[in-house]
């Protein structure tokens, strides 16, 4: 049954020429391997004759060397093919996930596991397929070799082939469900752990680590059940395989024994027959590869799911002075029929109770989120700052210049404007400190996030509660510096603070996803409900 991931796997195999080399190498090594039992038979017969023949021994050594060297080359080639394919898939998937942008239809943890885990599985497709192919070919070759020794051997052996095929088929159906269940439950445990880790301070302060450990681990029995199912399947397979191989061997040996008795075969040929029977049954030894193939296909499906997701249309940034216009914009239930216009160079504050749609409005105004209906007209480049920015890039300095080609001086200037320069120069390696090693508080991260917006010198600044963790003194300084560093820019500021709203040219007052009113802070202050947004209706 074709899965959506199969097309992807096909393109993975096709895009590299190395699988052909691996195939060629495997052809040589397999040929060596197929000739080896015959050469061994010849050598044993030579030994039994009590006479040393140099050529026979050299031929045996040559074939063995071919097989050994071929295997060694095969290991390196296989690793190269798999790692290149994995890297390609990871790059493609990352590119796609990045282009899907924000908000992503795939949760972060899930996306990471697709990039790290699933790409690794799917990258092995070419090697898995070639291994299966080579095994099949060498099995057929072994049957031919048996026939060349004595046609009876081949007939006896051929009877066992349908049995092997039957074995392979049932296996494919048995494992898929368990493998999928195992992957799902494993993902659930991870997501639960991530939840708990984010709330670690709550857990520590309440002393409920034990309790929460249990909560995280609640799906474990299902995981163990799925795992046990996989082992049981394996056990059944091994049992059948374990029976099949000796049964075939004995059948071949008996046939060969009569051959020896009737003078058709030499004692050495008995060994050759045994060797070819083992080679021919190699397919059965590839059962783990079939599990791997199943897992590969499941992973490829998960990758294809991402790659097949349509990228939402995002209008290009038009050059301009920073005019923002919304007409009857609706986004889910967060924003409803919002119409407003913010002229270039003005300072707009967005206020409203928690959950009234402020962040969504900011995201729409900045072009970060697509809208369900209505029209958005914007021009000018956007600089964003968030309440909780995720700092990205290699070093602290890079995290400020992230996505731009700004130099050290520009980075430093932006940091100065955001009132964070003094903090950064005290870090272990200053601006060169790797992000992971920088101990930063929430307020410091916020100011770096501001610097990141400032450095882009945008026409429009969207500050989504970006100074919420700053105390009012620091906030006032940042505000002043922002006005100095970027004068005359359009500013959209989501805020909870009346002082900020009072400074704005226009206040957009949101209530339950709708614009309840626009005007200056002074005008809106007449409304009792507006005052209640700030004072709690005292």
């Amino acid at each position: 049954m074709a899965k959506p991931g199969d097309v992807l796997l096909f393109s993975v195999v096709r895009r590299d020429h190395r699988p052909w080399f691996l195939l060629l190498n495997a052809a040589v090594a397999t040929t060596g391997g197929l000739l080896l039992p015959a050469a061994l038979a010849g050598a044993v017969d030579m030994a039994l004759s009590g006479e040393f023949v140099l050529f026979t021994v050299v031929w045996l050594l040559l074939l063995a060397a071919t097989e050994i060297v071929g295997d060694a080359i095969g290991i390196v080639l296989a690793a190269t093919i798999t790692s290149r394919a994995t890297a390609w898939l990871r790059r493609e998937l990352s590119r796609k996930l990045l282009s899907l942008g924000h908000p992503s239809p795939f949760a972060a943890g899930d996306a990471v596991s697709r990039v790290t885990g699933d790409c690794g599985n799917a990258g092995g497709i070419a090697v898995t397929l070639i291994t299966l192919l080579v095994t099949a070919v060498s099995s057929v070759g072994a049957v031919v070799a048996l026939a060349l020794l004595d046609w009876r051997l081949a007939v006896v052996f051929a009877v066992s082939v349908p049995l092997a095929m039957l074995l392979v088929r049932t296996h494919m159906q048995l494992t898929a469900d368990d493998v999928l269940a195992y992957q799902e439950v494993s993902g659930d445990v991870s997501a639960r752990l991530l939840d708990a880790v984010s709330g670690r301070r709550t857990i520590a302060a309440a002393g409920i680590a034990g309790h929460e450990t249990e909560r995280v681990l609640r799906p474990l029995p299902r995981l163990a059940a799925a795992g046990a199912g996989m082992w049981r399947t394996q056990a059944k397979m091994m049992w059948r395989a374990g029976l099949l191989l000796p049964a075939v061997e004995v059948a071949v040996l008996v046939t060969a024994g009569f051959g020896v008795m009737e003078g058709r075969l030499t004692p050495g040929d008995v060994l050759a027959a045994l060797g070819y029977a083992a080679l021919g049954m190699g397919v059965v030894g590839q059962i783990p590869q079939l599990t791997a193939l199943e897992r590969t296909r499941a992973s490829a499906t998960r990758i294809a799911e991402v790659l097949g997701t349509e990228v939402p249309a995002r209008p290009a940034v038009l050059p301009g002075a920073g005019v923002l216009e919304l007409r009857e914009v609706t986004v889910g239930t967060a924003l409803r029929d919002v119409t407003l216009s913010i002229p270039a160079g003005s300072f707009a504050a967005v206020v409203g109770r928690s959950g009234s749609g402020k962040s969504t409005l900011a995201a729409v105004l900045g072009g970060l989120s697509a809208v369900d209906s209505g029209t958005v007209r914007r021009d000018g480049a956007i600089g964003y700052a968030f309440e909780r920015p995720a700092l990205l890039g290699t070093t602290i300095g890079r995290s400020i210049g992230y996505g731009t080609d700004s130099d050290e001086i520009q980075v430093r200037d932006a940091a100065v404007a955001a009132q964070v320069h003094d903090v950064l120069i005290r870090l272990p390696q200053g601006y060169e400190t790797p992000l992971a090693d920088a101990p930063l508080s929430g307020g410091e991260v916020q100011r770096i996030g501001l610097a990141r917006a400032i450095i882009r010198d945008p026409e429009v600044l969207v500050l989504d509660d970006a100074t919420a963790s700053l105390d009012t003194v620091t906030e006032a300084k940042v505000d002043k510096a922002l006005t100095t560093a970027l004068p005359g820019r359009t500013r959209v500021v989501v805020t909870h603070r009346p002082a900020t709203a009072a400074r704005a040219d226009v206040v957009v007052w949101l209530d339950d996803g709708r614009v309840r009113g626009t005007g200056t802070h002074r005008e809106l202050w007449e409304h009792e409900d507006y005052r209640a947004v700030f004072t709690g209706g005292e």
Binding site: L98, H102, V115, R192, R201, L217, L368, E387, L392, A502
Partner: protein, 572 residues
């Protein structure tokens, strides 16, 4: 590693049963070559086909026994491997969640890494149990088999194998190093993609997908190169093992002719020796090479990484009992390290039931440290934090956790019903209690929107705004009987009105309320204010501080720089 072995030892019975069954598996390996040799010697070559067939049938019977053993081994593998994985996951999760340092909070990618390593340990353990065990049983059985059938040739067989194994052992360290490098590269890939994928919003906002892609692609490509380097090392060790496995066969056929000629070796003995080598010893050796170099290395690296992710925590557990519900802080000083500037210096403070303290000060000054000291999460560097007369970090954990509740800025919500989330700290609370608590903190509209207490929440409070998540966290603590409540910027995502409502609700409860203030309006509602500014902390009422502290005045001024009468400071 020790943990791993002790866990395995914990399933000793399972492992022993496994080993018992593998003895069965070794039987065909021990008799296989000999029976084939005898079948030819005494049967087919002697012109007695019946004897030959019978010998071969006994070979078949033994193979059935061996297969039965193998089946049992695999069926019982789950009984060892799955509980081992469960124990490992349990320990890791508990370790991560109980880690008291909070300095290295694992993020999404770290969690993904943990999951991956646990899978490696599971697969590798199964691999080792299957392969290494089979190798041992088969090789030993087969070597004994050779020794009993073709004793004259035993050294030709044993020496190359031993030589190959020694050489293989010598290669192991470099192999291990490369393997470790590859695993590190793997982790860096996970880190890089984790950082970018959890920060997608910011990547989009910075229009930086090109740079984000470059950062990820660099690690991805490095990882690919490291994998190939490992493959070269693996190819070398495979060659060593293959030569070691084939040499005995070549030596055997080369040295056998004179022995056969002199009658020391029969046809059957030569056949038996070759069958032993090709059918038992060689496959086992290849298995060993595969298992040790890849599986065991990965296993060890994964175990080491897991241990780092979840350090063993064995902090001493206090057993003091507080005499009352009062806090007494004397000369408390706290710094993150002896060299660092202290976050808190010489703080003395008494808190009695009914007190409502607000802690204010500039960002990043370490106000949260106060919360950690009061909850006993960290002991003070100098001075004492006494709760009911006992050092708070030494109070019996059950008593302390029951009496003191902390609500941090970052909310903990998990997948489950709203009810489960709200009863986290008060398992015996009734639905009426929960609804009442939600009403008090102003979460009733949220509760209605979600669809009541039975509504399901997704992972990480999916679909809730940060403010809504905070409301649930507040209601969760409100419903407890904690006598000390510490709000560590717990209302930062609420609007001022909602914040005021929450603080008033908590202030009306009996006991002590400490508000690590996010907005200065919190100070106006408190009956005492602690100002933290890096120097000696200032303590007093709002009015007193306005008169005596320039910093406090400045803070208040900045809060309302316009001095518009329309935006007055909230009244007390």
């Amino acid at each position: 590693m020790r943990f791993y072995l002790s866990t395995l030892a914990g399933h000793r019975r399972g492992v022993l049963v496994l080993l018992g069954w593998s003895m069965l598996e070794g039987i065909p390996a021990f008799f296989g070559g000999r029976l084939v040799g005898t079948a030819v010697d005494k049967g087919f070559a002697a012109g007695n086909p019946l004897a030959g067939v019978l010998w071969l049938l006994s070979f078949a019977a033994l193979a059935v026994v061996g297969a039965l053993g193998q089946r049992q081994v695999f069926a019982r593998l789950g009984a060892v491997v799955e509980p081992m994985r469960d124990a490992l996951v349990t320990r890791i999760v508990r370790g991560v969640l109980s880690d008291p340092t909070h300095r290295r909070t694992p993020d999404a990618s770290a969690v993904a890494m943990i999951t991956r390593h646990v899978e490696v340990v599971r697969d590798a353990t199964a691999g080792v149990l299957v392969q290494a065990r089979a190798l041992l049983v088969t090789t030993v059985a087969a070597l004994i088999g050779i020794a009993t059938t073709a004793a004259a040739l035993i050294w030709l067989v044993v020496l190359p194998i031993v030589a190959a194994l020694v050489l293989f052992g010598l290669l192991l360290p470099s192999l291990a190093k490369r393997q470790r490098d590859a695993v590190m590269a793997d982790e860096r890939t996970a880190e890089a993609s984790g950082a970018v994928l959890t920060g997608l919003r910011d990547v989009a906002a910075c229009d930086a997908s090109a740079e984000a892609y470059r950062d990820v692609a660099r690690q991805v490509d490095q990882q690919a190169r490291a994998t190939v380097t490992v493959a070269w090392a693996n190819a070398l060790r495979a060659t060593v093992i293959a030569i070691g496995g084939f040499a005995p066969i070549a030596l055997l056929v080369a040295f056998a002719p004179p022995l056969v000629a002199s009658g020391q070796l029969t046809t059957g003995a030569v056949l038996a020796a070759v069958v032993y080598l090709t059918n038992s010893v060689n496959p086992a050796l290849h298995g060993l090479a595969r298992t040790t170099s890849t599986v065991v290395m990965r296993l060890m690296v994964a175990l080491k990484r897991l241990q780092e992710a979840a350090p063993r925590t064995d902090g001493a557990i206090g057993a003091e009992t507080p005499a009352n519900g009062e806090f007494v802080l004397r000369d408390v000083t706290f710094g993150w390290s002896p060299d660092a500037e202290p976050v808190l210096r010489g703080l003395s403070l008494d808190l009695r039931p009914g007190d409502h303290l607000a802690v204010v000060g500039p960002s990043g000054i370490g106000k949260s440290t106060m919360a950690s000291l009061l909850t006993g999460l960290m002991p003070p560097g100098n001075g004492s934090v006494l709760f009911g007369g006992a050092p708070v970090d030494q109070v019996t954990p059950a008593v302390r956790h029951h009496a003191i509740a902390l609500i941090p800025q970052e909310t903990y919500l998990f997948t489950g019903t709203v009810r489960e989330n709200l009863t986290l700290l008060a398992p015996r609370a009734t639905d009426e209690d929960l609804v009442e608590a939600a009403k008090k903190v102003g979460a009733t509209p949220l509760l209605d929107r979600l669809g009541g207490l039975g509504a399901k929440l997704g992972h990480g409070g999916e679909g809730l705004s940060a403010g809504e998540a905070q409301l649930l966290a507040l209601a969760r603590v409100f419903v407890t009987s904690a006598s000390v409540v510490i709000l560590d910027e717990a209302t930062s995502h609420l609007d001022p009105a909602a914040e005021a409502r929450v603080e008033r609700a908590f202030a009306q409860r009996e006991g002590i309320l400490v508000v690590i203030a996010h907005r200065l309006s919190s100070a106006l509602r408190a009956n005492r204010v602690l100002v933290m500014d890096g120097g000696k902390p200032l303590l007093g009422t709002h009015e007193h501080l306005l008169k005596t502290s320039a910093l406090y005045g400045q803070l208040m001024l900045a809060w309302d720089p316009t001095h518009r009468e329309e935006t007055p400071l909230p009244k007390r």
